[in-house]
Amino acid sequence: MRGYAQRYVPGGDNANLERQFERDKDDIRELGVPLETIEPLGEPGDNHNLRYRIPKGAYELPDDVRFDSDEIALLGLAAMAWREGSLNAESRRALVKLRALGISADEPVLGYAPRLRLRDAAFEPLTQAIDRHQIVRFDYLKPGEERARTREVIPLALVQYDGRWHLSAEDLATGEGKTFLLRRIVGKVTVGKAAPERPGDHTARALAELDEVWQRGVADIEVRAGSDAALRLAHRRGTEEVAPGILRVHYVDLAILADELAGFGPEVLVVSPSQLRAAVIERLERTVADHG
């Protein structure tokens, strides 16, 4: 922490310097560098003479955490997937740190360029709130509802399922577990006070819950032979042909599937469920009306 002492004005207004110091400490912690606070002996609570240090053993990679060149190549790809958006800096920094180990990656047989998108503005404030255990508040527009409603939740995990980001959270008022689609969050996410600890593997639970919803959600769709819809719906994970020209597809969210099916126009006819059938008809009517 060199440099702060020199800029400190005895008896003067050091508010800016102190704020800067707090920010720098956060920065250092979020870089993965643990900071310990040492109170001077005999002066507990006197934070003017607090000292900070990086505890031995907590800073460096454990000795048995080493990677071979195949693993470094895989980690390179994993990092590359985040090259757009807010995790870009983190994944690049992770690679830089691993390079300290001096292993170089094997060139893969087949070149890959994977990419995970973070287009939802809510992603960044939500990940931070999860890391810092803070309550969040946002407006959420449920399909079929006219107006967005304000939700106040303990954010637990962010998972991408079927190409879409979901927030797994606990409703602050009811204590109920809830899953939110990030794209339906309207406006800003407000970060509030400290949230109670909720230990556990929330990502695994959230993925398992989404998988259950997906298992239960089935729709039978009649498709025109040889059409784009026939081919692409058949390629969807879990699709089976239950009768000639009838595909049974799985889905998590009825409104999203209805949008997708509406895009296929006359290539599809929803057989069941009736709710989905009605939703597709409503969407097609809307599009006709908007373009008449």
């Binding site: 643990p34 001096g102 991408q160 990502t203 695994a204 059409s227 390629h235 296929f264 599009t287």
Partner: protein, 331 residues
């Protein structure tokens, strides 16, 4: 849906932010200590940064240290380098303090890598699930606190990936039936060059022998793939793939739309650079570029109530007719 256009950001840039700089220094020092004497060029190549970045970082390291017991900097509390050798672009740390090991990952850094690995778990390279589990476990232990709660369910078509990888390894073409976005189905012979993905959409980029040009193919529009006996004519080392997944062409059509602000992001791939946008009530008016109306009508009908085609009339009618034909099936 019409083909997506996508811009890949420029190559990795040297670290600029203060956090990135610090992380870089914390990684550079242990590597330099491990390597005794290296040249500036070697260090630049290993870390993928410029030689000037290495020079300025080494100079900075040489002036850093940890205050000793008197809270002031004595000579033994500071790093030092062989300055004469450094004149010749050779780096040798002659005195060092504290940071001699690779730093731990932060919770977010570890989480980004773990979620990235999950996303790529269907790649043939990741077939060994136990190895991947071990790797994830090592990353968790290598983090300074529990990795952030972040996960990605990934499930690309591993059969296609396996065939493409085999074809590349053996230097042979793949053949598959492809249904393009105009609804035409053709057999394609392709020299595979690279596999790309955007979230849950996967693409093969390759040299198409039918079109005699570079082409991009969606995994979910390919069927009946085989690895042929025919040798490839182009490989990834020799062909420079354009950064954009789909190249704009002179024949592209421009369409004026009005969209709800919250869906503009979903259309970003189709909005050309420098497109004029204006506010019309609570909607945003802008321009889309599409290769044909077959793609446009699917795109717009798939975003009902949020996007409206305003002009030209032909485009507007194409969308209306497509939706009306869909509706007619329920009559």
């Amino acid at each position: 849906m019409a083909d997506k256009r996508h811009r890949v950001p420029a190559r990795a840039v040297p670290p600029t932010g203060s956090r990135d700089k610090l992380a870089f220094l914390l990684a550079l020092v242990p590597w330099l200590l491990e390597h005794d004497r290296v040249t500036v060029q070697e260090a630049a190549a290993h870390f993928g940064v410029s030689e000037d970045d290495i020079r300025s970082s080494v100079s900075l390291v040489a002036m850093s240290g940890v205050p000793g017991s008197t809270a002031t900097y004595q000579h033994e509390d500071l790093f030092d380098i062989d300055w004469d050798a450094f004149e010749q672009d050779e780096i040798a740390i002659t005195q060092h303090v504290a940071i001699d090991d690779a730093p731990r990952l932060s919770a977010r850094e570890a989480a980004a890598l773990i979620a990235g690995l999950q996303y790529l778990q269907s790649l043939p390279e990741n077939a060994d699930r136990v190895a991947i589990r071990n790797l994830v476990e090592k990353l968790s232990r290598g983090a300074s606190s529990t990795p952030s709660q972040l996960a990605v369910a990934g499930d690309p078509d591993s059969e296609v990936l396996g065939l493409v990888r085999r074809a590349v390894a053996e230097g042979r073409r793949v053949r598959f039936a492809y249904l393009n976005s105009r609804g035409e189905r053709e057999d394609r012979d392709v020299d595979p060059l690279r596999v790309e993905s955007i979230d849950s959409d996967w693409y093969l980029r390759g040299w198409c022998h039918l079109r005699q040009a570079l082409r991009t193919f969606r995994f979910d529009r390919m069927s009946d793939m085989i690895v042929t006996e025919l040798p490839i004519e182009h490989d990834a080392a020799e062909v420079r793939l354009p950064d954009t997944l789909f190249e704009p062409s002179a024949e592209d059509l421009e369409v004026t739309i009005e969209a709800a602000p919250e869906v503009i992001g979903l259309l970003a791939d189709y909005i050309p650079d420098g497109a004029l946008t204006s506010e019309v009530g609570d909607r945003i008016r802008t321009t889309l570029r599409v290769s044909h109306y077959h793609g446009l009508k699917r795109l717009i009908a798939g975003m009902p109530g949020t996007v409206r085609v305003v002009a030209p009339d032909q485009a507007r009618r194409a969308v209306a007719e497509w939706a009306a034909a869909g509706l007619a099936r329920y009559a």
